[in-house]
Amino acid sequence: MAGVSTKEIKTRIRSMESTKQITKAMEMVAASKLRHAQAKIAHSRPYFQLLYGVIQDIARLNTEQKLPYLQPVQNSEDRIAYVVIAGDRGLAGGYNSNILKMVYQDMAGKDVDVLPIGKKAADFFHLRGVPLLNEQYTNAEDVSVSDCFTMAKALCKAFKAGKYSEIRLGYSNFVSALSQTPATMELLPLSALDNDPTDEGEGILYEPGRRVVFEAIIPEYLGGVIYGALCESRASEQAARRSAMDTATQNAEEMIADLSLKFNQARQAAITQEITEIVAGT
């Protein structure tokens, strides 16, 4: 019968079983982390919605000189800074490769610097010779709110100094537990707000002045956006890992079922052969 001995099949079943245990455990860990990450998204959303509302109002009401951050600084270098958020570890389905490939395509043919968040992002761009701004945030799991604000402040300063004509963000959008889409968005300039100002002021007092408030709030807002994107990406990573591990567990189960059948067949064959030999009296 089957060329494989029962012992060999048995070892394979055993190794499949331990693999299954690992993937199952990883799935459960990811599921619990996912729940935390989802709660964080919900918490962080109102914060930058409020800030964005104020920024919009100021941009709309401003009739004096042009506000900064709405268009690139004059004679700024034609260079783009990318903030890219990916994971630290693999085994998360297409999570890392989806976002990294998308950003890489987006930046093709342009002069860019990358600020990677997450080890996978840093490795990816390092390997392809893309200049990295710094490698302080290569541990995505440890990046805190205040890190996001430090980043945002540094980026705003570089933008104002004319070092970059544009600042973009690449992250994974958490649509649902089953679907995560990679996305890139423009952080600076806030060109969506650069339209003709109207004078329908609501009589709001800006202390000490619109411009000062605007300039103070923008870095905070960007920090909030980066943090929000980080939360979305983290949730996406956990969701992607959960479903990848779910599939792996199912595959392991299938293989175990298949191998068990083979094992039983081989055992039965051995018994049958033995009986035949006894009956034949050899």
Binding site: K40, H43, S44, P46, Y47, F48, L50, L51, V54, D57, I58, V145, S146, F149, T150, A154, K157, E202, G203, I204, L205, Y206, E207, P208, V212, V213, A216, I217, E220, G223, G224, Y227, G228
Partner: protein, 139 residues
Amino acid sequence: MKSFPLKIVTPDGLQFDGEAEELVVRTVDGDMGVMAGHINCVTALGMGRALIVSGGKRREAACIGGMLSVLEGSVTLVPTTFEWAETIDVRRAAAAEARARKALEEKARLSKMEQKIAEAHLKRSLVRQNVAAGSGRHN
């Protein structure tokens, strides 16, 4: 005393939602007090102590960055970080202070940006420690 609705929202979620009689925060331009009936106003926050009087009780917090808006009588405080005095981890703040001071000692080796970051870290740790130390005095 007349009260006004106050909401405090940070990136970590809602910190306070209710009626308050008085709010004092450190803005980019110095301390600013808000009481019921304040004019519509928006301002950016600095780093410092925030004082909230709600239901006759004073509460203090370390409040850093973000903005304050008063609109139609309701007040929204949107700070980057907001920690009630009693929840501040003093040991962590002290450790942050020591780290920032050590970084600043080697001033010559730091770039301007790094220097500024270290100074900001130092200032934040001092604000936290001050607020945490002050909470015992007022209660």
